[in-house]
């Protein structure tokens, strides 16, 4: 029975429980609903929640645990070696699943009979061709163990699925029965329901904390694993990044950090003047109609997905910089470069700086401006000598937020900056960043026991710590500044 059906059945049980309890509550008062403690629908909701919520919680936990159990049993059937990695185990499970699905398909179409399968156990190699004749795709090579594993897989899956349906629906029925029995006119249904809803609300808020904990834990565990295999001094202080699969890799953070900071610096050098001057113009000079057109247009830049900027860097900005600046000056011949990525990233963060600064400039009290203008200063003098100094802490906060955004940005640098880890001052050379290396070490074939893969978690943790520090600092500054004028 599929999850969808179980869900629908549980909902149906809960709905019936709602109707029954509501009616029971009314009947117990012999038609005089004023004798009820709560409105009749609260008695219904009490039963609905008591029946559906525990059932769905169990269903959720079950769905998380089931693949683990199946994976373990299949791996046992396959007699994988003790030191097999998780990825190997997953691949084996996937193969077993593929065989099992193909066999089910063959059985349901009548191409094979139940008895035939035992026959194939003796000669597994013939299974593939037999299935192919029936136009059932099977890309894995069938071995006797795999056929065994496939049978273990299908029996475990069907057993667990049946068990899940029974348990979940059982819980729903028990919950409904328990709730209905408790209903009397004196039962304080509204209070109980409201308490239950409050628990659900709190549960939802706790998810934010759980996410943070999960982020930190997921990275800390693997990072510790990494530092067991690779000395931390080398990671933090080595100037070479040269991962070799098989052999001794050099995994130094510094070249990646250099690339990250260099690109972010160029991005900020592009975005801060443009963003700040647009914000000043929009806040202080622009007429209402100009503002109502230009501000949303600039903010469109913030809504464009980063992959679009990445493609823009790859097909337009990169070749443009290479053909018009880098090659004539003899500075390099690579389309992907620090300058490309920095420039495009700068365009991306213009709206962050301009809208935040705009808010902050608008928050500077008008009396300050009036005072300065009254003394005979021109508007630009007022802005430079009064408004900007007053807004400075907030603007610094905005720049820090933008910097954290630039450091954590991935797609632009993946497509625009290149993959060569080097420390160089030439902005027209390809360099790489922390985020690029996280992507390249974790995509494709990964082996979670090798330092070359695990280093990605250490890089991720480094990135997380850097951006978190910047964010907290920036939020602190912005918040402190806002309070000043409120």
């Amino acid at each position: 029975m599929s999850v969808l059906w179980i869900t629908l059945i549980v909902l149906a049980i809960a709905a019936i429980a709602y109707g029954v309890s509501r009616r029971k509550a009314i009947e117990e008062t012999k038609g005089d609903v004023r004798r009820l403690h709560s409105l009749p629908s609260y008695y219904g909701w009490f039963s609905f929640i008591s029946s559906a919520v525990p059932a769905f919680l169990v269903l959720l936990v079950w769905l998380v645990i089931q693949p683990m159990i199946i994976g373990n049993r299949v791996n046992d059937a396959l007699q994988l070696p003790e030191d097999a990695t998780i990825v190997q185990g997953m691949a084996a499970t996937r193969d077993a699943r593929a065989v099992s699905v193909a066999l089910d398909e063959a059985l349901s179409r009548g191409v094979l009979q139940q008895g035939d399968i035992a026959q194939f156990a003796a000669d597994p190699a013939s299974l593939g061709p037999a299935l192919r004749d029936a136009d059932i795709e099977l890309s894995v090579i069938v071995t006797p163990q795999l056929l065994d594993a496939a049978r273990v897989y299908s029996s475990t899956v069907s057993m667990l699925n049946t068990l899940m349906a029974i348990v979940v629906i059982g819980i729903a029925i028990v919950g409904a029965g328990y709730a209905i029995r408790r209903i009397t006119p004196d039962f304080r249904a509204r209070n109980v329901v409201e308490r239950m809803v409050m628990l659900l609300l709190i549960g939802a808020s706790v998810i934010a904390i759980l996410t943070t904990i999960a982020i930190v834990l997921s990275m800390v565990f693997e990072t510790v694993n990494f530092f067991r295999q690779y000395p931390w001094t080398e990671f933090f202080f080595s100037f070479t990044w040269a991962p070799v699969f098989q052999g001794i890799s050099q995994l130094g953070l510094l070249p990646l950090l250099w690339g990250t900071l260099y690109i972010s610096a160029i991005a900020l050098a592009v975005a801060v003047p443009i963003g700040l001057f647009s914000a000043i113009y929009l806040a202080e000079y622009a007429s209402k109609s100009v503002r109502s057109v230009a501000k949303p247009l600039i903010e469109i830049l913030a809504g464009i997905p980063t992959i679009v900027y990445g493609l823009f860097a790859l097909i337009t900005v990169g070749p443009l910089l290479r053909d018009w600046i880098a090659q004539p000056l003899g500075l390099g011949s690579s389309g992907s470069s620090v300058a490309t990525a920095g420039l495009v990233m700068g365009i991306m963060i213009i709206p962050f700086i301009s809208s935040l600064s705009d808010d902050i400039i608008n928050a500077v009290p008008q009396s300050l401006r009036d005072g300065s203008l009254g003394l005979g200063a021109t508007r630009s003098e007022t802005i430079r000598q009064v408004v900007l100094p007053a807004a400075l802490p907030g603007i610094v906060g905005a720049v820090l937020l933008a910097a954290s955004r630039a450091i954590g940005e991935t797609m632009i640098v993946v497509l625009g900056a290149g993959a060569a880890a080097r420390i160089s001052g030439n902005p027209f050379e390809a360099m790489t960043t922390i985020t690029v290396k996280i992507v390249s070490q974790l995509t494709g074939d990964t082996d979670f026991n090798s330092p070359e893969t695990l280093v990605a978690f250490a890089l991720g943790l480094t990135l997380f710590v850097i951006t978190l520090t910047l964010n907290i600092f920036a939020l602190y500054i912005v918040r402190k500044y806002r309070e000043q004028y409120e």
Binding site: R190, L201, G275, A294, T306, I307, E381, E409, I438
Partner: protein, 449 residues
């Protein structure tokens, strides 16, 4: 403070008030310069936006058009259905190669009949203009409708990506000389076919509906699987992120006492909104795939990761719209005897609904364009099969729209760059629609208190 009558310093006697002195002129010039800086900054930002859009649209709009060879041919029964039973199961034994031979023969006959090639041209040059995918298309068409065998049918065959590129200006006669995949002769044949109406470039729905194709067949690559994958992920985000986000905001805004615990939650949410997206990808890989053993490249994992990313966005906008509902509404409800829960669910929440919806749509739009975390959970894999219908299909491998763009940029054939830009046009179209809906909702239902 009595000598107010002191003459203005620095101003020579006899100068007129109507004439600006040099210092005032300098200050006014500085004022004008400052304004110009502002205008220039805005102009640069808008020019960048324009350049970005022009570069994407000029490079990608051709992806929606594709060159097809159109001709009539009779499908020979003896080759395609040797048993003669019109039974799809038997006919499936004829492989794509068999169909390819039939199709090639039909094309050669059609071209030679039209008399547009001199006799000296080899058959291989004529058949070389077809895409390898064309035979597979024909096979699917015949297997779906076996009665076509033996009849004369209109063939609409995809032509080779290089020929398509020639009509779109990507391939030239000069580049064809150096290209192993195409020869100038084939281009000439193709041109002659266009003049005779045997070949045309027209709108191609396949780009939006078909699955991805291998490295050698850019002409057949489509967005079907990626669109479905993105749709599934958005469903997961909608089903999970909206209830969680709204529930959390209601608690934090309406009920939470001011204490250490709620402070921690608040700081957490504002920080989560600024965590780099790739970190969420690492989380997804470590927790959902390595720990919980959910399948790789599945929309459910992508959806869960995007949910975690979207929840803070939804919480922030929902709280803002809850805060905008004036306290008098709550007081009135409490005053007539409603419980706090009733005042929130019956009065505050409905009034905050438009704001919540707007925030939700904007959050979804962000999630739709997110790429980096999906790379880490294996959505870059090459997937040709459409996922099943949800909920089972949520666990099938699929791609996603932005990841498909990334995937295509990593391929060697330049025709994929055009496809990537085309995919971005589709992505931007979706974002535009979503944001337009959000703006309309806000305009229509926004209330000022």
């Amino acid at each position: 403070m009595t000598d107010i009558s002191a003459s203005p310093a620095g101003k020579s006697k006899g100068s007129s008030l109507l004439e600006l002195d040099s210092r005032t002129r300098r200050r006014n010039a500085a004022e004008r310069r400052f304004q110009i800086y502002g205008i220039v900054a805005i102009a640069i930002a808008l020019a960048a936006l324009l350049m970005l859009l022009v570069s994407i649209f000029s490079g990608g709009s051709s992806a929606f058009r594709q060159t097809f060879a159109t001709f009539d041919m009779t499908l020979p029964a003896e080759q395609l259905d040797p048993e003669g039973n019109r039974d799809p199961a038997e006919m499936a034994r004829v492989t794509t190669i068999g169909y390819q031979n039939v199709l090639r023969a039909g094309l050669v006959a059609a071209v030679r009949d039209a008399g547009i090639v001199p006799d000296g041209v080899a058959d291989a040059d004529i058949t070389g203009i077809l895409s390898p995918e064309a035979a597979a298309d024909l096979r699917n068409r015949v297997l779906a409708n076996p009665d076509l065998i033996g009849t004369t049918v209109d063939i609409d065959a995809l032509v080779h990506g290089r020929i398509d590129g020639y009509f779109k200006g990507r391939v030239t006669m000069e580049s064809a000389v150096r290209d192993a995949n195409i020869t100038p002769e084939r281009l000439q044949i193709a041109e002659a076919m266009v003049e005779n109406g045997l070949m045309s470039t027209r709108f191609n729905w396949g780009f939006v509906t078909k699955p991805d194709a291998s490295d050698q067949r850019p002409e057949a690559a489509g967005l079907g699987v990626a669109l479905l994958g993105s749709l599934y992920m958005m469903l997961v985000v909608l089903v999970l992120a909206v209830p969680i986000g709204v529930a959390a905001s209601i608690y934090l805004e309406e009920f939470a006492p001011k204490n250490r615990f709620t402070d921690v939650i608040e700081v957490n949410i504002s920080n989560l909104a600024a965590v780099p997206s790739i970190v969420f990808g690492i989380l997804g890989l470590a927790i959902f795939i390595n720990f919980a053993h959910l399948p790789q490249s599945a929309p459910i994992v992508g959806g869960l990761v995007l949910t975690l990313m979207t929840v803070p966005t939804i919480i922030i906008s929902t709280r803002a719209s809850l805060r905008a509902v004036p306290p008098s509404i709550r007081d009135a409800a409490l005053g007539v005897g409603a419980s706090r829960m009733q005042s929130v669910f019956h009065h505050v929440l409905p009034l905050a609904m438009p704001g919540i919806l707007t925030g939700t749509i904007i959050g979804l739009a962000q999630a739709l364009g997110e790429t980096a975390p999906l790379l880490l959970i294996g959505m870059v894999a090459f997937v040709r099969d459409y996922p099943d219908a949800p909920p089972e299909g949520l666990f099938d491998p699929a791609s996603a729209l932005p990841v498909q763009v990334y995937n295509w940029t990593q391929r060697a054939d330049p025709a994929f760059v055009e496809r990537a830009s085309g995919a971005i046009i589709v992505l931007l179209a979706f974002l535009l629609v979503m944001n337009a809906i959000a703006i309309i909702l806000r305009r229509r239902f926004e209330r000022r208190w």
